[in-house]
Structures are given as structure tokens and as C-alpha cells.
């Protein structure tokens, strides 16, 4: 670690009704990877937005390379050498890699854009990062991992001295994360200061030198990563130990009836010959790397995407599911990984979202019985402990965890016995995660059967009774929780397919 390049001291920022940052301190040294951690809403993003000039601070000082500075927009911050690599990639799919990297500051020959020079310069950037991407490739043809590397290349092309990574690994496969870490280590070697925002505890341990923890807009403390444990960090984040031990034994009786049986399901490249069984009261974990075809399998079963072949049996009876309506009639509920896009109707109220799947039960003739609708919504708000001022609240105003509960309520109100949870805790803070876990366990103990797709190993090991592992569209293994270890699962998830 080199000398301090960036110091943020006593940063204070309020929004109407919210004290978003309360005298926060943060520093970055040259040649270090500094993790910034905290639950959702802890103020990490706000702090980084203050740094890069998106927000104006109310008070406090920012010292960068020995000088007090204040940026008024991201452009100024970029020019000074502070750049953010966003979690959501801002790439233009139809343009080439090089055109994307140099967008807004194209090289020119007269009035003509000099694509040749841009390609050469992009190549140089990639060489510096030791990555192999063709600058003339169309952006949309790259994997998410490669796109992110382009984003990093774009960042360093600004002569960056401080790079902020905002949850860079969220959409990457394990292999891509490895590659990302290699690049980050490289950048550290080149004496850049790196801020790494992530929720993934394992990564923090692997890649970072120091950890600064924030909670509710306040600065909690900074630790040397090597000298602390996961629980130390989590304790600072939430003030309590929350990680439970993995589940050691299945609670599902061996003779529990099979409620869902899928045989030789095929749906495109991502779902090839998938077969499995789900028992009553079971939580069946679906593990695998990003792009293994787990979501696609779930969507095919649910009828959200077309199937090519394969049979589905519910309680031993063969059923035809051609669209989500059929699936809902069969008592299947699907909680999408992308809540905002596929789960909730944000401009509608909690009550309206709750009855979306079974409005026909809340009708008086052709009219919606709003009283009955609100009553049932309120019942589930109470039983799921959803935090909302009332069932008339628009779901857009709820937090991620509570939105998730509204989606769960939607399926429970429809009396679904088979629930597919696709990444149920993605984008949800640690406290709310725990609640979702408890809720899933409760549902399973009440006899609901759950398929849980998760990319977090700890979540898989903690929740599942049995685990199906997929890789590149095929089921590559199945393991009981008693026999499951990270190594066993990862081995199946990365198995070569001949």
C-alpha cells in the first residue's frame, strides 16, 4: 500500500427526510483495494455519488492528491482520474467495443471519425489489462463478463488513479470473477487506488486489503482484511451475528410424495434434457454458475418461455403448461430473479399486486371487490410481516425485501403449492434476507414445495434439502444436503460437457 491518494472527511449529506450521510470518513491509498461495505441503504452509493460529483455534499472535505477538491459532475471527476465501473453496464450494443470505449471523445481525422486509431488505442488498453478482446467486435456479441472488462478498459483510458467498482461481480460467472480479480490485482500493481463495493463476503476476503463498513449513513470503522473474520465484518454491518450454519440434514421424510416431476425437458440451448423431482415440503436448491440454464429451466416449467419437449407431472398427473396461465392453474408460482421487471407492477398498490394472480376470486359480478381484496392483502401483510404503511401503498415505495414479500403473498393468496424462488434474496439487504429465509422454511414446513435457484453457495447450503446442479443447460448432478459441500457442488457446476 502506498500513500493516501483520497481522503473524505466528515462528509455530511441530507435529503428531505433522510440523513443519508452522517459525518462519514473514508480514505483510499495508492495500490490498495479498499472494500466499502454495508447493507442496502447504508450510504455506500451516496458516498460515491458525492465523491464523483453527482451529489453535492452539505459539509465535510474531500482531499485528492493533496488538494481539497469538489467535483460538480462525473465528467470533472473523470478528468481528474476518478471513475466508476457501474454494476449496470452502460454499453451500446450495436456499436463496436472500441466505439463504446471512446464514445464522446472519438479520435477524428478532419470531420471523419478515425476508427482505425480507436481500435489501436483500445487494443493497447486491453494489452495493459492482459485481456483478449477484439476491439472491432460488436458489443452485443460479448458476454456480460467481457462487456464489463470493456467498461474497465474505458475507465483506465481516462488515466484513472482511483477506480470504483460498484458490485462488479453481481452478473459474472465464477470464472469471469477470477479474471476480474486478476485485472484488479494488476491495477493494484500499477499503483491505482481501488474501491470495491460488494455484498459478497467471500470476495471481500479474497481481493481486498482493507474494509470500511457503513451502517445507516454512518461510518462504523475500517479493518485490515487479513486481520478480521467474516463475522467481524457482518457484526459491524448489522450489529449481530446472522450467518447460520449450513443445514446438516434434510427435514423432508424419505417417503414424502413427489409433487412435481419434470422429465426430459428441452427448451433451447439453455435447457437440455433436464429431469428432476420435487417432494412435498422440500426446498430443492438449484445451483450452478451464471448462465447454467437454471432460470431458463424455471421459466420453461412455468410456461413463460416455450418448451420443445418434455413432460411435467403434478401430483403424478401429467399436465400441459403452455403459458403462465396454465402454470398458475396448476398451482405453480414463480418469483423472478428480476423483481422489478417480472415480479411486481410498481405503479400499483400492495393490494392490487397481491391479487394479481387470482383476481377472479375477488370479484362481485364483473366488479372487483376492493374490500375483500384489501382484506386478504392485509392478512398476508400481517402474516409475512411486510413493512408497509398500508395495503394502499404503491409497491414502488417499498424496499426490495418487502417487494419480494408482496410477490410471495401474490402466490400464496393464489394457494400455490409449488413455488419457484429465483434468486430470492438478490438485491436484498442482510436483515431482510434472513427474514426471507425464515419465511421459506416456514412455508416448507407447512407443506409447500420450493425450488430455490441461487447463485450464492452459502444460501444453497443453508436452505436446501437437496441440490440439483446445472451447467451449460444440462443437469450435471444432484446431491443430498447431507453429502453436499462447496467442493462437491462446484465440481458438478464446472463439469466439462462432452
Amino acid at each position: 500500500m502506498g500513500e493516501v491518494i483520497l481522503t473524505m472527511k466528515d462528509i455530511d449529506k441530507s435529503f428531505p427526510g433522510v440523513h443519508a450521510l452522517d459525518h462519514v470518513n473514508f480514505e483510499v491509498r495508492r495500490g490498495e483495494v479498499h472494500a466499502l461495505m454495508g447493507e442496502n441503504g447504508a450510504g455506500k452509493s451516496t458516498l460515491m455519488k458525492v465523491l464523483t460529483g453527482i451529489y453535492t455534499k452539505d459539509s465535510g472535505t474531500i482531499t485528492y492528491e493533496g488538494k481539497d477538491i469538489e467535483f460538480h459532475n462525473t465528467r470533472e471527476a473523470q478528468d481528474a482520474g476518478i471513475v466508476i465501473v457501474h454494476q449496470e453496464l452502460n454499453m451500446l450494443g450495436h456499436l463496436t467495443v472500441a466505439q463504446n470505449i471512446f464514445i464522446g471523445r472519438e479520435f477524428k481525422k478532419g470531420i471523419k471519425i478515425d476508427d482505425k486509431k480507436m481500435n489501436e488505442e483500445a487494443k493497447k488498453l486491453f494489452d495493459r489489462l492482459h485481456i483478449d478482446i477484439d476491439p472491432t467486435e460488436t458489443m452485443a456479441n460479448l458476454t456480460v463478463g467481457k462487456q464489463q472488462m470493456c467498461e474497465i478498459a474505458k475507465a483506465i483510458s481516462h488515466e484513472a488513479k482511483v477506480i470504483i467498482f460498484d458490485e462488479p461481480s453481481a452478473a459474472l460467472t465464477e470464472a469471469e470473477i477470477e479474471e476480474l480479480f486478476k485485472i484488479i490485482r494488476d491495477l493494484r500493481e500499477q499503483n491505482l487506488g481501488i474501491v470495491y463495493i460488494s455484498h459478497r463476503m467471500d470476495e471481500i476476503k479474497v481481493i481486498t486489503d482493507r474494509v470500511t463498513v457503513m451502517r445507516d449513513g454512518t461510518y462504523v470503522g475500517t479493518l485490515i482484511t487479513n486481520e478480521c473474520t467474516k463475522d467481524d465484518i457482518i457484526n459491524m454491518m448489522v450489529g449481530r451475528v446472522i450467518y447460520e450454519d449450513p443445514k446438516t440434514a434434510s427435514t423432508v421424510p424419505a417417503d414424502a410424495p413427489v409433487v412435481l416431476k419434470v422429465e426430459h425437458l428441452n427448451a433451447g440451448r439453455m435447457v437440455q434434457d433436464v429431469s428432476f423431482e420435487l417432494r412435498k415440503g422440500e426446498i430443492l436448491g438449484f445451483s450452478g454458475l451464471m448462465g447454467a440454464g437454471r432460470t431458463e429451466t424455471a421459466r420453461a416449467i412455468f410456461g413463460a418461455d416455450p418448451k420443445e419437449s418434455g413432460d411435467i407431472y403434478i401430483n403424478g398427473e401429467k399436465v400441459t403448461i403452455n403459458n403462465p396461465q396454465d402454470a398458475v392453474k396448476c398451482g405453480i408460482g414463480y418469483l423472478s430473479e428480476d423483481r422489478k421487471r417480472y415480479g411486481i407492477v410498481v405503479q400499483k398498490t400492495v393490494a392490487e399486486n397481491s391479487t394479481m394472480a387470482c383476481l377472479q376470486n375477488y370479484m362481485s359480478g364483473i366488479f372487483i371487490n376492493k374490500k375483500a381484496e384489501k382484506k386478504v392483502a392485509q392478512e398476508y401483510v400481517d402474516s409475512l410481516a411486510t413493512k408497509t404503511p398500508s395495503v394502499d401503498q404503491l409497491v414502488v415505495n417499498l424496499s426490495g425485501g418487502n417487494q419480494q414479500k408482496v410477490v410471495i403473498a401474490k402466490w400464496l393468496i393464489n394457494d400455490c403449492d409449488i413455488l419457484i424462488f429465483d434468486e430470492p434474496t438478490r438485491g436484498i439487504d442482510v436483515g431482510a434476507k434472513n427474514e426471507i429465509y425464515k419465511l421459506m422454511n416456514k412455508l416448507a414446513s407447512e407443506g409447500k414445495s420450493i425450488i430455490m435457484i441461487s447463485s450464492e453457495m452459502t444460501e444453497i447450503l443453508r436452505m436446501s434439502d437437496r441440490i440439483v446442479v446445472m451447467c451449460e443447460g444440462r443437469k450435471t448432478g444432484e446431491v443430498k444436503i447431507e453429502e453436499a459441500t462447496q467442493e462437491v457442488i462446484m465440481n458438478m457446476a464446472t463439469r466439462e460437457i462432452s
Binding site: 421487471r341 407492477v345 410498481v346 405503479q347 400499483k348 394479481m356 383476481l359
Partner: protein
């Protein structure tokens, strides 16, 4: 929710105040404007736009649009009128044909948009051109005069306006408008059809994944729009002496403009039938009132355009505010 609904409610209230203010302004400035006959003519000219606006509110809320309602209106009116005047059909039968045509074109739009997944703008632009051509074919290129008031078969004109024995004209059409708005507001807010129309505009995929037959309800939004364009055709035929083929283009813009001024979000998911009604009256008042203060048709279009930009800006600003919170 409280805060949000107050914003939406206030847009309707503000627009209503604008309507009253415009009316007051024109009445004070122009003595000729404050006449019973002017009010009558504003109402006469408003019916068909109000009906189109009520109908087009549904596709607009789904996030789409229906550009075929203006030329459609003329087409349906010409077809019905042709059968009555040239083929000797009873007026009632002609009216039924008019309404059926609206439903058919609406269904075509709906199927193309919802099931074939064509973009609404292009789809309805095409049906706009098609209905315009069809209208001319139906009437063989001639204007058509539906039976006049007082003549045999002229009864349908009394749906919108009654002339008493003493010669006073009573605009009962306005009462029909209020009634229809109440019914359609109820449909939008208290039936599955309305609930799913809004849900589709707000998040179509999430609605589909909830097991809702989104294709059907999406088609229905266009069927409603087509049906109301046909109702508008009836109102138009009842108010105007002749219907000319080749006209009608541009009517839809007044209806869509009115709906948007009345609070329908240009990107879908938000809107109300009563708001659309009030919004249309802003446009009708400008259209009728501006000539009274010496500003001719060109100015009226410019001012209507500016008002519309203002309405869309309000919508965008509201959305941005909602995102921040």
C-alpha cells in the same frame, strides 16, 4: 400513496380549473363568446372528440396509441351513411354497421399489436391510412349527408341535442358524455378489464407472469378504442350536416392530446377517463375560443401544441420525481 394520489388528483383538478379559467377569460374578453349558442357549438364540436378520447385512453394506458380513430370515425360514418342514404337501410341498421366497423378495425389493431406484436404507432398509422381509403371507397368519393334533423330518420340527431317547441336547444349530449365517463371510469377502476389495462401499461411481463391472459386484455384496449371511435362517428354524423371522405386525419391528435393533458402518461400505466374528458375541453375551448379574440386557426394549433408540450413535461417531471423517491 397519499402523496402520489394527491399529485394525480391535482392534475385533474388543475386542468379543470384551467378549463374554467379559459371559459371565464374568453367570456370576459369577448361579448360574442358569452352566448348560449357558443356554448352549444362548443359542446356540439366536443362530443366526437370526447368519445374518441375516452376510447383512446385505454390503448394509451397500455403504453400504446391508436392513430386510426380519426380517419376511422369518418370511414365508419361514411359506411353507415351510405347504406342509409343510398341503399335505403333503416337508420338503426346503419348505426349498427357503423359501430360494428369500429369494433372490427379495433380488433384488427388489437390483434396486430398484441398478438402479432407490431409496434402500436406503426400499426395504427397503417390502419389510419387504410380506413381513410376505405371511407372513400364506401362513399364512392362523395360526401354523405345523414338524414337531417326533423326529417324521417333524423331521430338519431336528437340523441345529442333536443330542440323544444319554443326553439330552445338543449344539449343532452353532454349528459350522455358524463354518463359514459362515469361508466368507463368504473370499468377502468373496478373491473378486471380496467385493472389489467393499467397493469399491462405498468409492467406487461410481470402481469403475464402472474398468469393473466395479457394478450386478450391488450386486444380489448384497442377494441374499446375502435368502438368509441365508432360512437364518435355517430356523434359526428348527428352534429354535422355532411361527412366528407378524406377528412378525419388530425381528429385523433385532438383526442390523444386531450387525454394526455388530462393526465394519461405518455409512457402508459397511468391515466383516468374523467381526466381525458376534462383534457378534451381544454382543446375544445381553445379551438372555439381563440377565434373570438382574433386568433385564427393557425394560432389555435400552435397554442394547442404548446399546451400539449406542457402537459407532457408535467408527466415527465412527475415521473422523475417518483424515481428520486
Amino acid at each position: 400513496m397519499k402523496k402520489k394520489s394527491s399529485i394525480f388528483a391535482s392534475q385533474k383538478v388543475i386542468v379543470l380549473l384551467v378549463v374554467i379559467a379559459l371559459f371565464a377569460f374568453f367570456s370576459i374578453v369577448s361579448p360574442n363568446f358569452r352566448q348560449y349558442s357558443t356554448v352549444m357549438s362548443i359542446l356540439d364540436y366536443s362530443y366526437y372528440i370526447v368519445l374518441m378520447a375516452i376510447g383512446v385512453t385505454f390503448p394509451l394506458i397500455t403504453g400504446g396509441v391508436d392513430l386510426s380513430i380519426g380517419t376511422g370515425l369518418i370511414c365508419y360514418s361514411l359506411a353507415g351513411g351510405y347504406l342509409i342514404t343510398q341503399k335505403g337501410w333503416p337508420v338503426a341498421a346503419g348505426l349498427i354497421v357503423t359501430l360494428l366497423l369500429g369494433i372490427i378495425i379495433g380488433t384488427v389493431n388489437g390483434v396486430l399489436v398484441s398478438i402479432m406484436e407490431l409496434p402500436p404507432f406503426l400499426t395504427t398509422l397503417c390502419t389510419c391510412m387504410i380506413t381513410r381509403g376505405l371511407g372513400s371507397i364506401f362513399s364512392k368519393g362523395f360526401g354523405i349527408s345523414w338524414p337531417a334533423a326533423g326529417s324521417e330518420g333524423g331521430w338519431f340527431r336528437n340523441i345529442f341535442k333536443i330542440t323544444t317547441a319554443s326553439g330552445t336547444k338543449i344539449p343532452i349530449g353532454f349528459l350522455w358524455m358524463i354518463l359514459i365517463v362515469i361508466v368507463m371510469a368504473f370499468v377502468l377502476n373496478h373491473t378486471k378489464l380496467g385493472r389489467y389495462t393499467i397493469a399491462i401499461g405498468s409492467n406487461k411481463e410481470a402481469t403475464r407472469l402472474s398468469g393473466v391472459n395479457v394478450k386478450f386484455y391488450h386486444v380489448m384496449a384497442y377494441v374499446i378504442s375502435g368502438f368509441f371511435a365508432a360512437l364518435a362517428a355517430v356523434a359526428y354524423s348527428a352534429v354535422f350536416a355532411t361527412v366528407q371522405p378524406g377528412t378525419g386525419a388530425g381528429f385523433e391528435l385532438e383526442a390523444i392530446g386531450g387525454a394526455i393533458i388530462g393526465g394519461v402518461s405518455a409512457s402508459g400505466g397511468v391515466g383516468s377517463v374523467e381526466g381525458s374528458l376534462i383534457g378534451v375541453f381544454v382543446i375544445c375551448l381553445l379551438k372555439t375560443g381563440l377565434p373570438y379574440i382574433g386568433l385564427q386557426a393557425n394560432w389555435q394549433q400552435i397554442i394547442t401544441g404548446l399546451v400539449l408540450i406542457g402537459a407532457v413535461m408535467v408527466d415527465i417531471i412527475k415521473k422523475k420525481k417518483a424515481e428520486v423517491h
